[in-house]
Amino acid sequence: MNTQDLIARIKDNDDKVRADAWLSAGPVGAPAVKPLAEVMANGNLEVARAAKHALWKIVRHVGRPGADAEKKPVLAELIALCGDDQPTAVRREVLWMLSEISGDESIDTVAGLLSNDELREDARMTLQRIPGDKSLAALQAGLAAAPTDFKLNIVQSLRQRGVKVPGAPCRKLVPTKKTKVRKGARVDT
């Protein structure tokens, strides 16, 4: 199946045709990445979902052991999808794809999204997951540049990576959300 066939089937009205298409998308590889991302913004909910599933199939296919040659061009396509010209939902999904298969090649791009209010948390988690010194350095640089309301998020990632940040408290056990329900409440019948 080539990219054109894949996209045509992903857009089909029949659930089964779409499902068969995305289940087989893995070997289609890098040429299908950008076209699938475009279909992820399709107004038809199930077509958009099918495109997303197909993209994930490619990521899981090229992530297999011994597939570095196939993975490299897919990574290049995914990194390009992190740009401002892409919808937030697509970029969010791509960040998690990168978290599974990327090495140092995506770090600069992902780190750049630490300053994006909508995507910074996903970018942080992506950097946390990608092993290596470059991602760790990106987190540390990100901490220095982060606004106050985001610093503790990055501290948490550093903690997970084995780096303690002096003077930064862990807020995980601090309760913050109150209920409107009163003690001894009764359910209205």
């Binding site: 499902a19 199930e46 899981r60 052991p65 969010r92 996903d122 988690m125 056990l173 209920t179 359910v187």
Partner: protein, 451 residues
């Protein structure tokens, strides 16, 4: 023929020996566990102070159970908590006017008077809340599966050990009377050497009514419901209850029921603390909708030293063993899942494995010969937990065993998602030889809802 009634031993907290602890007979003292007995351990005559986190489906069941125990003087319910205000209101009415109400479970954990918590939130919260509870010195009853990722399981084991709390995971099948009979039957070689266990289950449901994302209803704190999961907009088909069919939370039937059926298998095979060397899954997935867990599925787990094979098979009802019970016997309420044990001298089947476990008649009627080995008989799943709290003994579904079972479920799903066989190193508690799969052993969590 009806099976013989057995007297299942029960423990009570209000012992007549209360005089030794200065307690008058029939007048329970309500004290926190750290006031009496060994540090961090409630005394034999103490009524446990409980709180409930997550009071929906199973959570509501646990709450009603604890209310009954409260009326018997076993526990006191100090608080209930839920992120859905409607459920919280209903739980408040059930629990009684003495119970405080919270949306945020962390208020419960910071209270010094609470001894133990029952956690019945969606699966993606189990690890975080258990670890937090342990770090606050609370004993934990947490619903199954124990965890959603391998790394979560490790963190739960570490936290429970470090903080010396008693954990019971809700695979209550192990505590059912016929589970004891089955285990005793198998442990005494009634079907010989077992080298294969085939679990059967009907398919996971598919979503026939998918809808677009929308705003959450006013009573639901969506941010707190999502908790550690990565951000996504609310969708009506995500909760409540239907989280079970979402891979990142409930993980489908293999995690929902597999955590029960495979729990029995690991226990009866004496395999707690061990793991497979390879896991391979195939299956079908939904063709539309938000739910993405396997519809039909086959997973093969290969164990070494001793060598045996465990399989998990999700197929329509016509592929499962017919139920055995006949007229005059207790009906098997849920015959559609269970397992077949294949031995050198025959086979054995059980149905269920969760709130009900039904054993084949030959196990129920088996009379142990002289010198037969006995096995542990649970006094009841909650009772076994209470005993663990009081004495420090390992519970029947302790966190180590539960994480081992959850790992089987997780690995099965990972193999399916990735479309390839995985190799597992039990000693390292890691997937080996596959960098992508190795990274998927953990999942970064949204701040501040993290381990």
């Amino acid at each position: 023929m009806r099976r013989k009634d057995r007297k299942v031993p029960r423990r009570t907290f209000l012992k007549n020996a209360g005089a030794a602890a200065g307690v008058a007979i029939g007048f329970p003292r309500i004290v926190g566990s750290r006031v009496l007995a060994a540090p961090g351990r409630a005394g034999a005559n103490d009524r446990l102070i409980m709180a409930h986190i997550g009071v929906g489906g199973m959570g509501g069941h646990h709450l009603r159970d604890m209310v009954a125990r409260m009326k018997q003087g076993q526990v006191q319910i100090a608080a209930v908590c839920d992120v859905d205000e409607n459920r919280l209101r209903a739980a408040s009415e059930t629990a009684g006017p003495q119970a405080d109400v919270y949306r945020d479970y962390r208020y419960i954990l910071e209270r010094k008077d609470i001894d133990a918590v029952v956690i019945a939130t969606p699966d993606h919260w189990h690890a975080v809340q258990t670890v937090h509870a342990a770090e606050c010195g609370k004993h934990v009853y947490v619903e199954k599966p124990a965890c959603c990722t391998i790394e979560e399981g490790k963190a739960m084991v570490a936290a429970a050990r470090k903080n010396r709390i008693s954990v019971q995971v809700g695979s209550q099948g192990r505590s059912q009377p016929e589970a004891y009979l089955a285990y005793r039957y198998l442990a005494n070689g009634a079907i010989g050497h077992i080298d294969k266990v085939t679990c059967f289950h009907y398919p996971s449901p598919v979503d026939k009514k998918p809808v677009p994302d929308s705003n959450p209803p006013p009573e639901l704190d969506w941010d707190l419901w999502l908790g550690p999961l990565r951000w996504r907009p609310y969708n009506k088909r995500y909760c409540h209850g239907t989280f079970r069919w979402i891979m990142e939370s409930g993980g489908g039937e293999i995690r929902d029921r597999g955590a029960h059926v495979m729990s029995c298998a690991m226990w009866w095979m004496g395999a707690d603390g061990t793991g497979p060397v390879t896991v391979e899954a195939t299956g079908t997935v939904p063709t539309r909708g938000l739910w993405d867990s396997a519809v039909e599925m086959d997973v093969t787990y290969s164990f070494k030293n001793p060598d045996w094979v465990l399989t998990w098979n999700q197929h329509p009802d016509n592929a499962v063993p017919a139920e055995e019970r006949k007229e005059g016997e207790d009906k098997i309420i849920r015959p559609g899942y269970g397992a077949v044990y294949h031995g050198s001298k025959g086979t054995f089947t059980h149905w269920g494995g969760d709130g009900g476990t039904w054993a084949e008649r030959k196990a129920r009627e088996w009379v142990p010969p002289p010198g037969a080995k006995d096995v542990y008989e649970s006094p009841g799943h909650k009772e076994d937990w209470f005993e663990g709290i009081k004495t420090g003994k390992k519970t029947i579904m302790n966190i180590e065993a539960a994480v081992g079972v959850a790992n089987l479920c997780i690995l099965g799903n990972l193999s399916l998602i990735l479309g390839r066989k995985l190799e597992w190193d039990q000693a390292k508690q890691a997937i080996v030889g596959d960098e992508q799969a190795h990274r998927m052993m953990g999942r970064p969590q949204r701040h501040p809802y993290h381990l």
